[in-house]
Amino acid sequence: MRWAGVAALAVLLTLPAVLNSYAVTIFILIFFYGFLGQAWNIVGGYAGQLSAGHAAFVGVGGYTAAMLSIEAGLMPWVGMFVGAALAALLGAIIGYLGFRFGLRGFYFVLLTVAFAEICRIAVSNIDALGGPLGLYITFTGDPRQFQFRDGRVYYYIALALMLSATATAWAIERRRFGIYLAAIREDEAAAEALGVNALKYKMLAMVVSSFLTGLGGTFYAFYLFSLQPNTLFGIPLSVEIIIRPIVGGAGTLLGPILGSFILTPLAELSRLYLGQGGLHGAHLIAYGVLLIGVVLFLPEGAYPRLRRVLQRSRLAPVSGPSHPKGCPQERSRVAPVSGHLRSEPGSRPPLQKTLLVARGLSKRFGGLQAVAGLDLAVEHGEMLGLIGPNGAGKTTVFNLLSGFLTPDAGEVSFRDRALVGLPPHAICRLGLARTFQLVRPFPRMSVLENVRVGALARHPQALEARARARDVVERVGLGARAHVTAGTLTLAERKRLELGRALATEPTLLLLDEVMAGLNPTEIEPIIRLIRGIHASGVSILLIEHNMRAVMALSQRIVVLSFGEKIAEGTPADIANHPKVVEAYLGDEYVRAAPA
């Protein structure tokens, strides 16, 4: 991989010596659109937030640098960073509004389009900015003014831009930032539960992406010497920006570049040969057909497919972005301290007797009172069972405790901290982790990568987190499956993964939501042993479980919910004989006709 990269770079650096000026122009466009695609990829690919208004950042960047140059005589070399900063500011505003207000999918697309269109209309109507006709830059050929008589200079600048964006993406990809973005893209709620501040990381991705795109605006302006609002802010440019990474493979490092190498020459040649014949839209028809084809037949994009083909052919082993080369076992790991996990939570001295206290917790959904004035306490080191018939409100209680729902009334304190109002990721970082009843692994990540997302909450260094994750994976019995994609696990393995991910956040209190549901008795026994082991290592546990035998065997104390209210509380023995419990489960008639 490295040698292929060096060779490709060497070829690209020497190419201008042998190419004619038209070919150089095409390469400039390939690099430039590759750069814009890479910039978009950070938020659109890695973070999975489909922005369709990236043209706005090109426009803001370009207009700023051009105006500063024309009106204030500021060198575009400086102006481009001012423009990029303004673009990043706009990106931050759009991102904040979109993410804070929870706009997803189509709604987010529309928000970004609306902002870009507003910019376009506004600029078209501001005479100082040239109105609908735009701005023109007089050619001086002065390098300080970002102008060059030799087109090859633009070639190298465009290449440098593309490489720097790619380097940025590479740096993001292998750090916590990139791993978190991938987790957010796969399943935002699950990521939050593992301590990922989704809002923060999506915002960061948006800011980095819009900053880079803003830099591109200056290049665009000073390469073409003209800026028009309809081209610089228009939806067609946004489409140009999006389509390359999509075709090449969104969320991959080389996808945007590959996409640009495929599409840019195609567009230019069809523009050249068909456009002259009066067929103006021909290259866009080709785009459309390609887009449809990619969605139907190659939804991951061209690069992942190409990578698999290359890997299979064995001639050029290319490693995936998140699988470092070589067999992980062969490399010396950074501090693989086994038993570390075991000792840490337990080593924390009990700060208070009661670990978690909820008072008067209530939640209503429309006409349904899901939880009604619930009081609940988990002692330090306790294993507490929460049971009740289907629909009793158990999972709602978990959602209230872990910050996924805000209670209508009541308060929760955990290790003397008030939890109500805190987002899930903050609660996770305080040491309260949860699993989901319907397991939600990040399906396209490996088992180890899944667990690493959890480990990053305590170990920000990706390598160290990986080492910790490996320990946890072993501990939950998935060692042999560490490199398998989570989407292909069996249900029992998924349940273990869910448990392992939560455990990797090194919680003080673990909320387990039906980790045994759907498992057969032979699979349940080892899970019970696993939970016992976790508990023995000093983690307090609150568990919802339908499997009565398991609850009775595991719990020191049991709380019974029915229709959102606590109807009983006590030791397993008390609960088994409690008439209210039998009634709630089986109906009063059954109590009367008690079995002989």
Binding site: A517, G518, E523, Y585, Y590, P595
Partner: protein, 236 residues
């Protein structure tokens, strides 16, 4: 009694997950048959495979002697199997009447009116709330509406998935009493239920599903007497 429905080595699942495999069972005319098992054991999957809501990966399903596997849900409803799904799955912004009539779409106007009369006789509450939007009904009323919608198709086999889910004991009793009446009038039923005592009370026979396979079958009495059922499902 002849078998109305016969499953032979059924296999079905979701994505790369096989939820049930090698399931063979039969339901005879006029019977009520319970399918019991833990959460995720494959009960709902089995019902969905019968109604064509999930593709059958292996094995065969026969209804009244003809193969059902491979048919779509619309064709299976037309053959005479109605499904009352878990979670009711009503049309929340449409009226109770619309919901019921959608269940009887295949029938002509006159038969539909007859069926409607029958459903209203079974559940007078639905008659009172005929014009109300289904989404605004209480949980029990929604379950009645879902059962009524199934009956509207005038099926020869009624599949019921967790009819007691999330309902208060008194409502559960009402629903099961009504189901008992419907079965007594000759409607064949297959019932998936977590409330095992209730399910066994209604059914003549039952199958126990664990981890996607049938581990036990028998009459109501033999299941109630089975130590395995007692321990795992009756909590005794």
């Amino acid at each position: 009694m002849s078998a109305l429905l016969r499953l032979d080595g059924l296999e079905a699942g979701y994505g790369d997950l096989t939820a049930v495999s090698g399931v063979s069972l039969e339901v005879r005319r006029g019977e009520a048959v319970a399918l019991i098992g833990a959460n995720g054991a494959g009960k709902t999957t089995t019902l969905r495979a019968i109604s064509g809501l999930l593709p059958v990966r292996a094995g065969r399903i026969e209804f009244e002697g003809a193969r059902l596997d491979g048919l779509g849900p619309a064709q299976i409803v037309a053959r005479g199997i109605a499904h009352v799904p878990e979670g009711r799955q009503l049309f929340p912004t449409m009226t109770v009447r619309d919901n019921l009539e959608l269940g009887g779409r295949a029938a002509d106007r006159r038969h539909r009116d007859d069926a409607l009369e029958l459903v209203f006789a079974l559940f007078p509450r639905l008659h009172e709330r005929e014009r109300q939007l289904a989404g605004t009904l209480s949980g029990g009323e929604q379950q009645m509406c879902a059962i009524g919608r199934g009956l509207m198709a005038r099926p020869r086999l009624l599949l019921l998935d967790e009819p007691s889910l999330g309902l208060a004991p008194v409502t559960v009793k009402l629903i099961f009493d009504t189901l008992q009446r419907v079965n007594g009038d000759g409607m064949t039923m297959m019932l998936v239920e977590q409330n095992v005592p209730r399910a066994l009370q209604l059914s003549h026979r039952g199958y126990v599903l664990e981890n996607g396979r049938i581990v036990l079958e028998g009459t109501r009495e033999s299941l109630r007497a089975s130590p395995h059922v007692k321990q795992a499902y009756l909590g005794l």
